[in-house]
Structures are given as structure tokens and as C-alpha cells.
Amino acid sequence: MSKRSNEPFLWLLFSAGGSVSALLMPVHLFLFAIAFPLGWLDPPSDETLLALIRPPLVRVYLFVFCFLSLFHGAHRFRFTLYDGLQIKHLNEIINVLCYGGAVLGTVTAAYLLWRIP
């Protein structure tokens, strides 16, 4: 296996994240970032929301949502930098930034979700 790279792993995360974000993100964004702030729909109260995210199952849902989407985004962003901006010579730094960012976000998500009272 040594001849082959770890790309399959990253790609699997990318693909899973691609599906998760494609399925879930539009509705999330629409509700929380557009419809509620603009008053198109009545938002649930903050207490209700907090109650909603408290059950372990919902925490897992949110964790997976954040984790996979982040790795999807990081992977894609990495190649956008490579190809779109043609800065492939900065390979190492880009990798650290992209996947490092994703790892950081994932840890933060885990921490926040863990700490829900």
C-alpha cells in the first residue's frame, strides 16, 4: 500500500461531505441566515432551539454535519487554490491550512456540542 497515497481517505471524506452539505446546507442556510433574520418565517425561541439540540442524537447529527462538510470544503478549497490560483508550489502550506482548518473546526464543533448544558 505504501506506493499509494492517502488521497482515497481524503476523497472519501470529500465525497461524504459533499453529499451531506448538498442535502442539508441549503435548508439550514435558508432558515437561519435568510428567512429568520428577514422575518419571512417566525423563528423558534432560543430556548426551544437549545432544547432541540440537546438530545445526543441531534448533537451527533450536528457534529457529522460540521465535520464532513468541513472536510469536503477543505479538500475542494485546496484544489481551487492549486488550480484556480496556480499556487501549487505552496503545496505543503495549503495542505496544512486547509486540512488544519478542517481539523480545528471539527474539534471546536466537538467541544461546543459536548458542552451543551
Binding site: 499509494r4 488521497e7 482515497p8 472519501l12 492549486y82
Partner: protein, 246 residues
């Protein structure tokens, strides 16, 4: 229909010219003429030094790929009349070094093709007079990918290849996948060793242009994605299964 049409052709002789330049020629516009006929007309009657490749003029030998009005196409399968009243711009295939006029250096592809191991690999050979049993359904699995005429239009279309000449590229990967999917072959793992890397399948960003321009409907974009899926599955299996259990 106008009876003549102007063609602008890239002229470049590296021995003499600092830069490629465009030259215009006027040729007759016949209903049954393709761009290749116009080029031959120029070569026969106007300027014998115009240089381009062609042979079969029936879309199977894959020699006559060019950029026609900016799109990679076979010159022998592109009617002039579709571009009337003109002018038609004919340039060498993008992303390859120009050798002369419309002729580009494609030796890089041949090297990559060989690296994809496009031949049947088996652990035990069949006896000389015995056929493999391969049902029409099994044939269908890879038939589409076996239609590649190596015209390299897909390379001229793929921006990733343009950005990174190391990238194995659509046709060579599609041909590797053609053998992977062939029920007579046992070489998938060997091929994966040379293609599962950043220069191989993982370099493809699924731009999809390769499939758009392919004159033989090979769908290299699909081939590569399917290849990625199998490669990732293989990887998972290797992770999950204990060593030696494979």
C-alpha cells in the same frame, strides 16, 4: 450559401518564428467540405508548407484534432458550412507543445498510456485455443471506454492537464479503467499502484469538459469518477480487513 470562406490558421515554425501567428486564407465553401478539406486545399494550391496531421478522414484514426473556433474538434468531422459565413479559426490543440503549425507534440500521452498498463494482466494464462466466457453484459461494462481513438481532444479540453502536465489525464485513465472493467483482466490492483496518486486519478477535479468534447462518447470523466470510487473502496477494504486477509 456564400461560395468562399476565410480560414485563419496558426502558423509557427520554431526554427524561424519567435511566436505563433495567425494567417488567413480564402477557400471554396462546398456543402460536403470539412475543415480538413479546406486545409488540404490550402496545402495543395496555396501554400505547401502548411503543416497538419491527418490520415483516415473518417474520424477513426484520431490524427486530426485541432482547436476550431476555440473548441477541440476533429478537423475531418467538422463541416465548414457550420461556420459560414466565417471566418473559421483553426489552431493547434491547446495544452501541448507546438512542433509546427497545427502539429503538436503528443509523446507525453504515449508515455502516460504505457504507465496505465493498458493490456490484459493475468496470473494464469488461458490455453491457446480456449476463449474466455464474457457475456454481452460483461462486455457492456467496459465497451464504452474501449472506443477511445487517442485523439487527445480531451487533453486539449481539460484545464487540469493544462495547469499540471504531470496529470495522467482523461484518455489514459479511461483506458486503464477499460481494462479494470474487463472480466478477462486481473490487473486492477497493479494498475492502481501506478494510478492512485495525485498525478493519477486523484488529480482529476471532475471538470467534465473531457466528456463534452470526446468524439467517440467515451465519457472519460465518468470513467475517472468510477475509478475513484473503486480505488476508495479498495482502500477501505484494505483498512478494515486484517493484513493478509485480502
Amino acid at each position: 450559401m456564400a461560395s468562399r470562406i476565410t480560414i485563419e490558421v496558426t502558423r509557427y515554425n520554431p526554427a524561424r518564428d519567435p511566436e505563433p501567428r495567425m494567417t488567413s486564407y480564402e477557400v471554396p465553401l462546398h456543402r460536403e467540405w470539412v475543415v480538413l478539406d479546406a486545409l488540404n486545399c490550402i496545402k495543395d494550391h496555396l501554400d505547401g508548407s502548411l503543416t497538419f496531421r491527418w490520415s483516415c478522414r473518417m474520424g477513426v484514426c484520431g490524427s486530426c484534432g485541432m482547436m476550431i473556433n476555440g473548441v477541440p474538434k476533429l478537423a475531418c468531422a467538422t463541416f465548414l458550412s457550420d461556420y459560414a459565413p466565417g471566418p473559421v479559426r483553426v489552431e493547434p490543440m491547446r495544452h501541448f507543445p507546438i512542433l509546427r503549425d497545427l502539429v503538436v507534440d503528443t509523446s507525453d500521452f504515449l508515455m502516460k498510456l504505457a504507465r496505465s498498463k493498458p493490456w490484459i494482466i493475468r496470473t494464469v494464462e488461458k490455453p491457446a485455443d480456449e476463449e474466455h466466457i464474457q457475456t454481452p453484459a460483461q462486455l457492456e461494462e467496459y465497451r464504452q471506454f474501449s472506443m477511445c481513438i487517442n485523439c487527445l481532444l480531451c487533453y486539449a479540453a481539460c484545464p487540469i492537464y493544462g495547469l499540471d502536465p504531470q496529470f495522467t489525464g482523461p484518455a489514459a485513465i479511461a483506458l486503464a479503467q477499460r481494462y479494470n472493467m474487463d472480466s478477462r483482466d486481473e490487473g486492477a490492483s497493479e494498475r492502481l499502484d501506478s494510478l492512485s496518486n495525485r498525478e493519477g486519478i486523484w488529480g482529476c477535479m471532475f471538470v467534465g469538459e473531457c466528456t463534452q468534447v470526446c468524439p467517440k462518447h467515451v465519457d472519460p470523466a465518468g470513467a475517472i469518477q468510477q475509478y475513484k470510487l473503486t480505488a476508495a473502496t479498495e482502500w477501505l477494504k484494505a483498512m478494515v480487513l486484517p493484513r493478509g486477509a485480502k
